[in-house]
Every structure is written in C-alpha cells, then in structure tokens.
Amino acid sequence: MSDLPDSDTPPASQPAGPAAPAPGLFPIPPMAEQERMIEAILFASAQPVGMAELARRLPQGCDPAEALVHLRHRYAGRGVTLVRVGDAWAFRTAPDLAWLMHAEQVEMRRLSRAAIETLAIVAYHQPVTRAEIEEIRGVAVSRGTLDQLLELEWIRLGRRRMTPGRPVTFVVTDAFLDHFGLESARDLPGLKELREAGLLDNRPRPGGAPDDDPDDSTPPGQSELFED
C-alpha cells in the first residue's frame, strides 16, 4: 500500500498560470481522475465534505470546484445525486426514491437474556416443553418471552408431547436457521465443542473436592435432558 500520497510535493509547485502544467514532481491528475477521487471521498465519508477539505485531500494542483461541477452533471437524474449541504457536499439518494428506503427503517434491539437463553434451550433441545425449559433455566419462563420468540418467528409450536397433559412443544424455525446462518439446528456445537472453541470458561469448581463425575452434581431429573 502506498500510503501518504503527495505530501512531499513542494508547496511552491503551484504556478500562477492555471493553464500551464504544474512543474511539480507529479503531474496534476486529469479532470476525469479528479472526479473519481472526489466521488470516492464523498461516498466513503460519514459527513458531508467541505471544499477546503477536498482541496487538502486531493493532490496539489487539483481543482475540486470544477470536478464537482462535472460530478454533479454525471449524477443528475440518477438514483443517487450530489447535493450541497451548507458549505459541503454529499451523496444522497434521489428524493423521488425515498419510498424505496422503507425496508431500511428498523430499530435493532438486542434480545433480552431470558429470551436468548430460552431460544438457546429450544435450539439445543427441540422439541422441548415449557416445563423442560423452566427446569433447565431454573426459573419460570414468562409468557412474554415465548410470545416474543414466537412473534419473531424464531420458534414455533411443534408436536404435542405424548405424556400426561399432552403439553405443547417448541421447535426452531427456518427463519431462525436463516438468521443465525445455520444449515440445521443439529449443526450447533455441543458442550464439549463449545469448551474446545474457548466459548466456555474452564473455571474450577468451587468446593475443592475432586469431583470428577459430572453426573454427581447434576440435580435429579436433569441428566436425560442434558444428553448430547
């Protein structure tokens, strides 16, 4: 990468006569190239860019004002237009296409911890009943949490469990797989793989006793749920 462009160009290289080629170390870029440069700068900038900044960023001897005129012509009538904002310049989508931007108006919120945990349990244990989710989380699952996940279409109702009370089960949806970039829920890594990938802390257990059998510390009734 050739960083630092032409800061070495001697400042004296700007002659009075604008028609004469500059006697600097580097020739002045042709107007079409100046247009390209301004196009890139305005596109990538987070704010409108003023004339002074353009002049400072372009190589010595460029004429941003003229290049902007050309650029403005080029974009006239396009889906994107060059607009003047105060003393600066920026690209904006054409006002007549504003209706196209509707899909972009979304407010992103992070999912609550309860929701993400519930979702994780459904993904790993599906089909899973509400009682099983509560058993794994150790707290009651609020109606709102399940509703939210259902509304997001990340989980849906599965088959009823053929046990007393015939409770409904939950499974994840294709929209879930799509959102999380999974081909199937079976592709989720197991506990051992999570640990190997560094996603799990290997903190020593408190209490000191060399308790090697993981089943020992599992409360009764959960071991079946935790089968990988």
Binding site: A46, Q105, V106, E117, A120, L152, P206
Partner: protein, 277 residues
C-alpha cells in the same frame, strides 16, 4: 507457548531463521538462536518447516533423512543447553528417529505396515501443505481490504419514516447463553432434597437398635422404617441404605446375611457372638 504476533505476515519465518545458508560459526549461532526462539515456533511441524526452508530446495524434493537428522541434532543441542523442550517436540524426535532407522535399514518383508518411504512422503506432504497455507494466508492478508483499501458508504441512509422494532442476536450470543446455562449447573452448590433420602447413618442406627431385640432370621425389607415401605423412591432409598448398613454390620461381625437365590429376599439375623468367638 508464546503466541508470536505476526500481523499480515504469516508466511514469514521467525526472525532468527536465516534463509541464507551460513558458514559454520554463523550456522551455529543461528541454531542457538533457533533454540532460544523455540517459544516462537508453533510446534514441531513449524520447526521442521523452518529447517526445511533453510535447505533452499523445493519442498517436494526435500531429503527427509537429512531433515530428520537436522531435527534430531536440534533437539540434542537444546538438551545440551539444558533447554526444556515441550513434550511434543520430543515425541516428534522419537518418531523421526524411528523413521530414520526405517529409512536406513533394508525393508522388512514381514512388516505389512506403511513403508518408510510412505511415511517420509506424508511428512513431506504435510510440510508442503503447511507452507502452501502460510503463503495463501499471506496473499489473503495482502489483498485489498474493506476499511483499509476500499470503503463502504460512510453515511448509510436510514430514512426514518415508519419504524418497526427488530431484535438481533448473534450465533455467538446464542452459544454463549447455552454454555452459561449448562455450566451454571456445574457451579451450583450441591443441594439435595433430603426429605426422600434415608441416609446410611440413619439406617445404621436403626439396624443396630433392631438387632439388639431380634432373634432369628428377619427379612431385610421388614427392617425398613415405617413410612418408607410404600413402593416408590422413598422405599428404594431406605432399602438401599438399609442393605448397605447390613453389609457394614456384617463386616463388623454384628450380623449375618442370607439369600437363597439370586434376587430372592435378603434375610439377616444377629450374630451369636459367643458361638462364633
């Protein structure tokens, strides 16, 4: 192992690995530098690759025997300098010593395992493949990159006309949440619902008191405390602990046990201390 931070230059050998074939004293210096830098290597394969590269030959034609000798020499030199090498370096040394002996000896016709040549060829393949991946990584990192060489729109337009909420969560969030849940159980203090557990201590106390008054054989199941006899988890717990207690007392010589057939009821009676003494 100390992770050597090498930005954008994964193919670069550690600084000490001179690519030139140096004259003897310089070579020795270079070898010592190699050893000092052993932490900078990512395992035996990395070290082997560095040694191979110093031979300045096509990796596909690398003389494996020579390479094995260089590696063994390296390990010996490290030992002479009392540098502790990680075990995997020694495992590789042992394997290369074995390979070397196999390459030098005439093939044993009785041996139907892989030939020494196959093993050597596979090692050469591994080295070539690692080298190729390093070169590819370097080429990848040298590409024009987003945010450095080319750029996305700096001011994305999110016109707010109609607003609706969307919730986001990443796969990492999901997996970490699950990992958190699963490990929380490992850290949960051990707590057990004791109302349905008849402990060994309780069973021992009960049996000791029972056998004082007992004459003749009694079935184990009859020794269960009241309230623990209805089939179910309570009965299972009481039966298990009473049985364990009876074994303990039998071992202490306080009672005798009897069972006529497998799965038949177990009976017990107090041991006649005078008779058996």
């Amino acid at each position: 192992m100390t992770a050597e931070q090498m930005q954008d230059n994964p193919a670069g050998a550690p600084a000490s690995a001179s690519r030139l074939a140096p004259p003897d004293p310089a070579q020795r210096l270079a070898e010592e530098a190699l050893i000092v830098d052993v932490d900078g290597f990512e395992g035996p394969l990395d070290l082997l690759l560095t040694l191979a590269r110093r031979q300045k030959v096509d990796l596909r034609r690398i003389p494996i025997l020579q390479l094995a000798e260089q590696y063994l020499h390296f390990v010996e030199a490290a030992r002479a300098l009392r540098i502790e090498l990680a075990a995997d370096y020694l495992v590789m040394a042992a394997w290369l010593a074995y390979l070397k002996s196999r390459l030098l000896l005439p093939p044993d016709p009785a041996d139907d395992g892989p030939s020494a040549e196959d093993m050597a060829a596979h090692l050469a393949f591994q080295l070539e493949r690692l080298e190729a991946m390093r070169e590819s990584a370097a080429r990848l990192m040298a590409r024009d990159r987003l945010g450095r060489d080319f750029h996305a729109r700096g001011a994305p337009e999110l016109v707010t006309v109609s607003r609706h909420m969307r919730y986001s969560a990443s796969l990492l969030d999901l997996m970490q949440a699950y990992a958190r849940l699963r490990t929380r159980d490992e850290f949960r203090p051990y707590a057990f619902d004791r109302t349905d557990v008849f402990s060994l201590e309780q069973a021992l106390d009960r049996l000791r008191s029972l056998i004082g008054a007992q004459v003749g054989w009694a079935e184990l199941a009859q020794c269960l405390p009241p309230g623990w006899r209805v089939p179910g988890p309570r009965r299972r717990s009481a039966l298990a602990s009473t049985f364990a207690a009876s074994l303990e007392l039998a071992k202490q010589g306080q009672l005798e046990l009897r069972q006529s057939d497998p799965f038949a009821p177990v009976s017990l009676r107090p041991r006649d201390r005078k008779g058996s003494a």
